[in-house]
Symmetry: C2
Subunit: 157 residues, 2 copies
Amino acid sequence: MSKHAPMFISTDALLAHWQGHRRLTRRVIEVFPEDQMFAFSLGGMRTFGALANELLAMAAPMTHGMATLEWGGYAPPKAESKRAVLQAWDESTKKIEEWWPKIPPQRFQETLTSFGTYTGLGHWQILYVIDNEIHHRGQGYVYLRALGIEPPPFYER
Amino acid sequence: MSKHAPMFISTDALLAHWQGHRRLTRRVIEVFPEDQMFAFSLGGMRTFGALANELLAMAAPMTHGMATLEWGGYAPPKAESKRAVLQAWDESTKKIEEWWPKIPPQRFQETLTSFGTYTGLGHWQILYVIDNEIHHRGQGYVYLRALGIEPPPFYER
């Protein structure tokens, strides 16, 4: 792709967009009933706690890998309580903020393999992580509704 | 923002990313049982058919508005059957492809008000539409699982 292709969004704005989504996901975790987080599910799916652990295993580790090209250099501890999920979430948010500016900007337009497995352009790698968060958070909204709890508004970041 | 801010993703690549998501959402619509599309729901939420109509009311109309700054110039008909949803989906996909290149690239970095109501940067307007599609499609995945149907893989676009 041309280096002069018209820009849709800058690296700074994308980080701000992502962190907005992460604030919303944090609010969904916060309102999730503690005793249901690793117990409730629908249709044989994973619990919201298990989904949250998947999101945690992708977000900061992807950012670290994109910055260093070392994969597996950082992994948050697997959370087994709502409190541990929130703690890991906040730590990941800080790590993402710290590592993002260390990603060489051209890397977002280059092809790379993340975690030894997933090959694609740098922006694709990051968008996959964000989209996967939105996808599973949307599922968390259904779990909350089924539990009789009003989720936070989708448009508030 | 500087015109020379490092680019995360180009306008062309973002369109391709969006159309990939639209192909996945189309597959979710395709596997949804016709007799449940406007009937089944969980936790008092809207049916997947109603959610699909919301997505249709946002995607092509947003693209048209971004290209012309005329809001309400295009609205797909409200679908009341699975067949009508798929037909409107395919028509919207073509319209998006047609109108996207007509959006002046700098508009993605400018603040504008869409549909007379939503004020934000151009890239925010588009990302809201895409993120909302991922969010509601994720909810469709739960509906499918609850109906005993395997949804298409999230990573296939």
